[in-house]
Symmetry: C2
Subunit: 534 residues, 2 copies
């Protein structure tokens, strides 16, 4: 029963939940603590607030107001971080655009989101400007430090007072962002997220990553345009931590910043970790203090866990989607510790269980019933709770389809272990059906990843006249390593049932989305184009 009368909510005891308030608090409570590091420049929280204030003034001058969509296409830099506060503080909606998208898709997004304007950094300017011109949207380019021209929001150190950002939020069920899905399965859809959900997912991250005092130092190896950096754009501020911004994800820069800035946390796609592992700059790198590395999107191999541990990095496995504000589940290793590496790697391969602020993450069969907790029976991961998107922008049909039966359908296939942990077996499309047998592309990829020469492997179905489909592998080798198709196949045969062994192995770079997800639909096209084997 909702409380009424003199016990009804009022502004003294009920405020819209919003992550903007985390910056309000940081600027009020510890304005002189380090907030942002970028290219050797440093800003404290007062300085961070000043960038936000300048951006708000500029947006106001462009006529941006409540409900407007503001697109930003930029790397991990202070203005991109500031946009996560300045845009929603005006009641507007942030549309962070993937910087690696081609112009046509950017144009589609600008038109579909009905963007009021787009702000781009210099590297994204050519694509952004062309797409904006085609879509009839004004584009503005951010100044590069030390280079004349462009919009300078980093400006002089002069004090610029930030008002209370949270006061710009009328309702917690107001949109804070629209994030377009990365397009592994067709036209991008605009995922609408709210202030309430963003605040709660940020708090979920604080708890999942242990962003506790003393203030964390977070290295931005994850693009901020990717689900708003999984909401770490807000979580790190909530924890009063330091945002160490990185323009370009290069192992040497990562190693250097972990040392000089005493990084405590970072998040990234697995491909970044494999790059770090195989980079000459690694040498005998060892982190100077505890570093938690959060990743998701592909199961970590035993070699990856071992390599990270040797560098002093603690691996944490998360799972989520754009539709779940980033992290939805977390593989929380047994606090008692698992001494044996192989067992630990197997445990860490799981996607885990819901974080503290999502209400439910289950695996269900097509009838909607939970699958048995046997670690074998597959079903679809469904989610429900406050950290699930509001829906798809301007797409009621896709929204209703995603929410069929009252839960959010992820499209990811998984099993439920007896202890309540989820483990992904495959995306529905990633199952290869060979002679009536289901082959998990993930299982085949894991087997290939164990080969010492393999940097990255992706497995898809190739059409086959007799078996229907057979596994086809696309393999990237480590720099300097060599291997033949026969060697790899023999290696796989020693580890997999015969029908799971790839019939074709193709060497070369695996196409990925900007966020490191393999673009399997492109590989499927390539596999279809290969000469069928006998």
């Amino acid at each position: 029963m909702r409380l009424e009368g003199h016990l009804a909510p009022r502004p003294a005891n009920h405020r819209p939940l919003t992550p903007l308030d985390f910056l309000d608090r940081a600027c009020a409570v510890h304005p002189d603590r380090p907030a942002i590091v970028w290219r050797g420049m440093r800003w404290d929280y007062a300085g961070f607030g000043a960038i936000v204030a300048r951006m708000m003034r500029w947006l106001g001058a462009q006529g941006v107001g409540p409900g407007d969509v503001v697109s930003v296409m930029a790397g991990n830099r202070p203005e991109m971080l500031a946009a996560h506060y300045a845009v929603p503080a005006m009641g507007a909606i942030l549309n962070a655009v993937n910087t690696r998208l081609e112009g046509e898709t950017v144009g589609y997004i600008l038109r579909h989101a009905r963007a009021r304007l787009i702000l781009a950094d210099a590297p994204s300017a050519p694509v952004a400007s062309a797409a904006a011109a085609a879509a009839g949207v004004p584009a503005t380019v951010l100044a590069e430090p030390g280079v004349p021209g462009g919009l300078d929001l980093l400006g002089p150190a002069a004090a610029e007072t930030m008002g209370r950002l949270a006061d710009g939020v009328a309702d917690e069920w107001q949109a804070i962002g629209i994030n377009y899905t990365s397009g592994t399965t067709g036209r991008p859809k605009g995922v609408v997220i709210t202030h309430r959900g963003a605040a709660l997912n940020a708090l979920g991250n604080v708890m999942a990553l242990g962003l506790a005092a003393p203030p964390p130092v977070y290295l931005w190896t994850l693009p901020m345009f990717h689900c708003n950096g999984w909401c770490h754009t807000w979580a790190v501020t909530a924890a009063g931590g330091v945002h160490v911004c990185l323009d370009r994800v290069e192992p040497a820069a990562i190693f250097a910043l972990i040392m000089t800035e005493r990084v405590t946390h970072m998040a990234c796609a697995p491909v970044v970790l494999y790059m770090m592992l195989n980079d000459p700059a690694r040498a005998d790198f060892r982190a100077p203090g505890p570093v938690t590395v959060v990743s998701g999107g592909a199961a970590p191999s035993e070699a990856l866990i071992a390599g990270l541990e040797a560098m002093g990095l603690r691996f944490l496995h998360l799972y989520g989607l754009t539709e779940s504000y980033g992290p939805a589940t977390l593989c929380d290793p047994d606090p008692a510790g698992v001494p044996d590496l192989a067992t630990r790697a197997r445990r860490l391969a799981r996607q885990g269980a819901r974080h503290a602020l999502l209400s439910g993450a289950e695996v269900r069969d097509p009838s909607g019933a939970p699958v048995p907790r046997d670690g074998i029976t597959q079903g679809e991961i469904v989610l429900a709770g406050n950290t699930v998107m509001a829906g798809y922008w301007d797409d009621p049909e896709a929204t209703e389809a995603a929410f069929a039966g009252g839960v959010f359908h992820t499209g990811d296939l998984a099993v439920m272990h007896p202890d309540g942990e989820i483990e992904i077996r495959d995306r529905a499309k990633d199952i290869i059906i060979s002679g009536g047998e289901n082959v998990s592309s993930l299982e085949v990829e894991n087997a290939l990843h164990a080969h010492p020469a393999v940097l990255f492997a992706a497995v898809v179905a190739a059409p086959h006249p007799k078996w229907g489909e057979t596994p086809c592998a696309f393999v990237e080798l480590k720099p300097g390593a060599t291997a033949t198709e026969d060697e790899i196949a023999a290696f796989a045969r020693a580890r997999l049932a015969g029908f799971k062994v790839p019939r074709r192995i193709v060497f070369g770079p695996v196409p990925r989305t900007a966020t490191g997800k393999m673009q399997k639909y492109l590989l499927r096209e390539r596999a279809r184009a290969l000469t069928p084997e006998g």
Copy 2:
């Protein structure tokens, strides 16, 4: 603008915020992790869930349903913790009653809250039963382990499946509890708190105390009946930690449990810390790992900080009231560290700044304007945000008075420092006006606390024919220590302006509420009864 249409909230993406879900998650995600320790007995989270399930079944059998008030009068034991989940999971409202209250007040509370029933443990049974009989409320006594009779909810280890508690919560603005204020200023008022506020304050505690992985081990030195243990009843569960329950707060037991259970966090009134400091069991006690000790209600002395540090305990100063779900502000020491003890003690004496989930904590003058940030000008602390009570039960007038001007008025007088930290100077009633000069009783108490023989000092106004009021001190000496009225007065004279020196010093125990707050109204009565000095 609130999102509407296909983007409106629905169960898949909007659930009532409730701390009950923290236990749902713990039972689902890590059922075998340690949850409760009490008198050498241990329960994992599945066992914790089983106690909650048994209590819900019992409550259901008593006819308890949505909106009913269930009173519980018990020490820190598993059933008391379980009541924080079982009662609100039925849609009912938990009324945790101070176990040290006398029967008349308990009867008043039962009648005023319109309690449906009261549950008491054996030590509280005589008072609870008599009060209940007088109020016409059914009373039930909890079984003591190993003793026949009473309601046994700890029962056999047999599995008892807990349903999803959060499903019993229809609306997040539903009452989860009514906590009666401890009565330092008159008849207790029933502070109504909501599921939303309790969930958010618990998360604020998780961040303020750093209740992060690996799971914290929390020692219950704070009574759970006191603002629901400042919401730690829910926060520790959110963090997947261990509740180490302590029936009676005795230094020897505290030292023993810190050692054997590897306690990481505890909270208590300052008087408990002074007891620990002056207990023979302390000897050369040193905590085996980092322990964060959270306290509030009186400024910590330099000797206290030094003593705690010598034992390996880190002191964290919080401030709050029943009306703010417990902790509202936090003195967050500079992460760079303050090397000098005296400076550190002075810094830690502050109440600090709002926690991450309260929107505002300000110091305002009578016109409602913020006082200057000068560390000198006094005003009243006012609070606003999601962790402020809904209002007073059945008392619209007191509610409107407390919320006058759109903020919650704490009645506490404080200054605002230039860095935005609040420091309490005195409760409004604790100002002594002597010859037109304001004397802060806190300042006088601090001076007396510096005397080596003084365990505890409380200062109030005594009426005076010439000066209007003069300070009168009530002093508890350390065990075995001696001092005369003249010695103490001379000591104070060396440290305070003449008009601030207590004219009368009375030795003996200082009356306190069950939560360790000095009952100054009783001291004022005593001071009035003293023969006036010349």
